[in-house]
């Protein structure tokens, strides 16, 4: 028994070292900007940089818009699949999984080909058009996570009976969706939203090839020209991702339902 326990803990420790050692080393390196002693100078420089602020702000705005558009597409879809079209569940799930098997590079070349300046809908011809294309690309990339989170939320409540109870009280489809269904799967939507946000913040391929000033390409640019700031940025990016994961975890534990502990 003791031997087994030691073996189990050894595996956990090895995995921990594998994941944590590079992070710790990166963090340690990020503190060495000033010779002879540790400091947060690299972080100060990063946060003080106008490029960092604008890139992060750009990605954050795109992330929020991506979440709103994604939720507006996915929530009614998952609702109708759950309520009226359960036979289509397999097809819809397959479609939502496609972004996992189609690489982002393929997706973006497709976009450029379809929406290039010579096409019928030349979205890439203007910065705003490219932003829209980037956002729609992120909606596609976030689809597997957003759909699964929302679908799981739909399955956790009795969508059919709640919809019928609202309908018999006089409610139409928008009222049912926005006043009954969405508030009851709020934590699931937020889980999907934070996952999507984490993806958008660090994404490089779409933003780079569409030539948008996002956080991913900024990370790459800084990494190619500086020594300590990229390490600080990597740590910051990790903290953002972990923050999102932590919020998802917290939502999952505390806010999933209107439970008796209120």
């Amino acid at each position: 028994m003791n031997g087994r326990l030691i073996a189990s803990w050894s595996v956990v420790a090895l995995c921990g070292i594998y994941f944590l050692a590079p992070l710790i080393a990166t963090f340690e390196f990020s503190l060495r900007l000033l010779r002879g002693h540790y400091s947060f100078e690299a972080y100060r420089l990063v946060f003080a940089s106008g490029d960092f602020q604008s890139a992060f702000l750009f990605s954050a705005i795109i992330g929020v818009v991506t979440i709103i558009v994604g939720a507006l597409i996915v929530t009614p879809t998952a609702y109708w699949v759950q309520l009226r079209l359960p036979a289509l569940r397999g097809i819809v799930e397959y479609i939502t999984l496609l972004p996992l098997v189609v690489p982002a590079i393929v997706l973006v070349f497709g976009y450029i080909k379809l929406y290039g300046s010579n096409s019928i809908l030349p979205l890439t011809a203007t910065p705003f058009g490219s932003d829209i294309l980037l956002m729609l690309g992120y909606v596609a990339l976030g689809l597997p996570y957003l759909y699964r989170a929302i679908d799981a939320g739909m399955r956790s409540i009795d969508v059919k009976t709640l919809s019928e109870a609202a309908q018999i009280q006089g409610a139409g489809f928008p009222t049912i969706l926005f006043r009954i269904i969405i508030p009851n799967i709020r934590s699931s939507i937020l889980s999907g939203a934070f996952l999507t946000f984490a993806i958008v913040i660090g994404e490089f391929t779409l933003a780079s090839l569409l030539d948008r000033p996002a956080f991913g390409p900024y990370l790459q640019l800084v990494g190619a020209s500086r020594a300590y700031e990229p390490a600080a940025l990597a740590v910051v990016a990790f903290l953002i991702t972990w923050g999102c994961m932590g919020i998802i975890q917290w939502l999952g534990n505390s806010g999933s339902n209107f439970s008796a502990k209120r």
Binding site: L162, E164, A165, I168, G170, A171, A260, R262
Partner: protein, 354 residues
């Protein structure tokens, strides 16, 4: 003219026929129960009245208006669901006032009406609680209040008591009936529990395999079941095979014993075999022997049920259930004892069909 009318209703789900034919006229203020086993079409019929399903054939009218193709949110119907279906994100007050807010009523009116409804279901102090903080019985009361708050023209109850424990079920059953009588609201109740159906309803519609077997007052359904199915579904019953002796006089022979029905057995011929039924409580222990409407047998079992002792009396080929009232006097029938039982001619029921 009836208040709710369903005529020639059929409902097909692909190849499956859920309702074969259904015709019903319900008067204003009447409490009608759809009773039957699982899959008999009672819930499908209720859902068609609610508007959640559209009949394949036939028409549904409410207050003279054809609502067959009207969506549920345009029918002004209140419904209580088996699973309560309270909105978890809204408080009790929010749930009760939901329909009124949808109807665009002023906040003051909503608040007043919510208060009235809470008083009506005797839960005035629960307005700010969430459904998850209530017991099953309380949730169902709130569900009833929510259904009634917008003053619906019809109240539909879809097995509202089946998720509750026996004690709460009994008290809520009485409360629902009392409320219905007070509000005089036309009510359709769906259940598979015959006790609920008999104790609450003005009329009972017994359904089987998508068809109506019998419609009648509870007493009529219980005492005069038309078919073997109705007889066996409502209450406990002894099924008997009777040989017709004299149809004009209602004379038959059951297990070699002479017996009489109250009415002539129209359409039956001498020597025909007729399905008959007797309720266990309509049999009484007697000392009489050899006269009509008396069976003699051996006690196989006697089980004490409190108010009654249920005796299993073996005739030749039939095991007869007899409920002997526990008066506290005299010895209860014992196993192996020979016992004679008698019954009134009007209690011997001739059954139609299967």
């Amino acid at each position: 003219m009836s208040f709710l009318s369903a005529s020639g209703i059929q409902k097909h789900f692909g190849a499956h026929v859920a309702v074969k034919r259904f015709d019903l006229e319900v008067e204003k203020g009447e409490f009608v129960t759809f009773l039957g086993p699982s899959g008999c079409g009672k819930t499908t019929m209720l859902r068609m009245i609610a508007g959640f399903e559209t009949p394949t054939r036939g028409t549904i009218k409410i207050a003279g208006k054809d609502v067959t193709d009207l969506p549920p949110n345009k029918r002004n119907i209140g419904m209580v669901f088996q699973s309560y279906a309270l909105f978890p994100n809204l408080t009790v007050a929010g749930n009760i006032g939901f329909g009124l807010r949808i109807a665009g009523r002023p906040p003051q009116e909503i608040k007043k009406r919510v208060g009235e409804m809470l008083d009506m279901v005797k839960l005035p102090q629960y307005a700010e609680r969430y459904p998850a903080q209530l017991s099953g019985g309380q949730q169902q009361r709130i569900s009833l209040a929510r259904a009634l708050a917008p003053n619906p023209q019809i109240l539909l109850l879809d097995e509202p008591l089946s998720a509750l424990d026996a004690r709460i079920r009994a008290s809520l059953r009485e409360e629902i009936r009392a409320l219905q009588l007070e509000l005089k609201i036309t009510t359709i109740f769906v259940t598979h529990d015959q006790e609920e159906a008999l104790s609450m309803s003005d009329r009972v519609v017994v359904m089987r395999d998508g068809e109506v077997e019998q419609i009648g007052a509870p007493k009529e359904i219980y005492n005069r079941p038309r078919t073997r199915f109705v007889a066996s579904f409502v209450g406990t019953l002894n099924h008997l095979r009777a040989r017709i002796v004299d149809p004009a006089r209602g004379a038959v022979e059951i297990e070699g014993y002479p017996a009489f029905t109250k009415s002539p057995l129209d359409g039956a011929g001498v020597g025909d075999i007729q399905a008959m039924a007797l309720r266990p409580e309509s049999l009484q222990v007697t000392n009489a022997d050899g006269s009509a409407n008396v069976f003699k047998g051996v006690v196989e079992d006697a089980a004490f049920h409190g108010a009654v002792v249920r005796v299993k009396l073996r005739l030749k080929d039939t095991l007869l259930l007899v409920d002997v009232f526990n008066t506290g006097e005299g010895a209860a029938p014992q196993r192996g004892q020979t016992l004679s039982v008698t019954f009134r001619a009007e209690d011997l029921i001739a059954l139609q069909g299967d």
